[in-house]
Symmetry: C2
Subunit: 255 residues, 2 copies
């Protein structure tokens, strides 16, 4: 299994604290030693960092941890390879453009027989099940909605159906963004927490690190963090159920 | 005008030396203060770094300069904005997937009326002329070649025709890669140099920096650098002519 990390916020927020916890799972407190990737949205643009070094040893991961990039949507993934070699093109998150928006996708799990699902115009570059699943989803979305539906919830209802189909092939935990919303689909294990005023302290499970969010935020900030397993041990996380999908916009649970 | 920098090599090579020269032009020895971007191919994968800070002041640019990422194809760009605001989604190089390959595109110049060229499935995320031109080129390529032609030179002859059309709209200096070849099209100003054994010294025009390539390379290395203007003052660069297009594979001039 890989580890997923996502963030949705109503103001540009750095993810240094949560990422510091996640990267320790990449070869240090966890076995996910086959690379990591992180994508930050800034406006409509995206900024990605990826490495196939274990994240606990990676200079690029250290740069990301120490450099406070601020973003309203972040998707990150650390990998324990099961299908597809350890190389850059197999490193999540994956990106594609659809409707003039950058989409970002990260997945953990295996999907048996995924490569039998036919692809049309969007093709994978690497050899992972995950990228194939992403290309298939986007092809289906484009076919169903040549133009974006007026209400994004129409889109997400359709995506829930696609995710349910994929989840039948094995384990499908997913983080997805169309640059507006952050979507979390739980096939087996995923949890989330929304932090807002009054902010408290949080202490990481995987690193000897504490943060007082009260001193780093304003009273209007709303920040949701999604992770495979809770990252802190003194806060109440929402543990998602199999087949549950959640949509966050600006840090707020929309669906 | 912006500045372009490209590299094609037969072994994974770092571009630190040339990039050190280029980044000085971003707000220090040159006026190109509206951001920079660089894309490295590693196998079929890509790794991009972008910032809309002037490259001379950018922490991300410093990280790239000091961290010896090795690659066989690199495309970089520093920007002096003329069309499109200063933001991440308008920062070159741009990437799209076609035929299961990542394509990378950077441009300098302006293209009058480019937005009248209709786009079908590939759409720009930002508002630059350049990204519109890239999406148009890829749409044309996909329409003409639903599958990749057996000989890449068939592809590049077609691309030369597209580039000639774009160059009629204004200034069109371009670096393009399909992950196999690096293509340089000169609309007004572009130069290149191939370095191979016996390697000599080189000294940067824009920074007080010298390198002895002989001590950093093996006798079999072949490395071509393409830049808007020559980066060194003690080597013989090839100055390209208007309408000239060159294709490099593994550092070697193919066309």
């Amino acid at each position: 299994m890989c580890e997923l990390l996502g963030m949705s916020a109503n103001v540009p927020t750095d993810i240094c604290f949560s990422f510091a916890g996640l990267m320790q799972r990449g070869g240090c407190t966890g076995p996910h030693k086959d690379g990591f990737g992180i994508v930050f949205y800034e406006g409509k643009g995206i900024r990605g960092f990826r490495d196939y070094q274990p994240s606990a040893d990676s200079d690029i991961a250290r740069f990301v941890r120490d450099y406070p990039l601020k973003s309203q949507i972040v998707i990150s993934h650390i990998r324990q390879a099961n299908r597809g070699g350890i190389c850059l093109e197999n490193t999540h998150p994956f990106n594609r453009e659809l409707w003039g928006r950058y989409w970002t996708f990260a997945h953990n799990g295996q999907l048996k027989g995924i490569k039998k699902l036919a692809l049309t115009d969007m093709l994978p570059v690497g050899t992972t099940d995950s990228e194939h699943a992403f290309c298939w989803m986007l092809s289906q979305i484009r076919q169903r909605f040549p133009k974006p539906p007026r209400d994004n919830m129409t889109l997400w209802r359709f995506v829930q159906g696609l995710a349910d189909q994929l989840a039948e092939l094995g384990v499908f935990n997913m983080l997805l963004s169309d640059s507006k919303d952050l979507v979390a689909y739980c096939g087996k294990r995923l949890s989330w927490i929304t932090r807002k005023a009054p902010f408290g302290d949080a202490s990481l499970i995987d690193d000897d690190m504490q943060v007082d969010f009260g001193s780093e935020t304003t009273p209007n900030d709303i920040v949701t963090i999604i992770a495979t397993r809770p990252l802190t041990d003194n806060e109440q996380w929402n543990i998602m159920q199999r087949g549950e999908m959640r949509v966050f916009r600006q840090g707020i649970l929309e669906r």
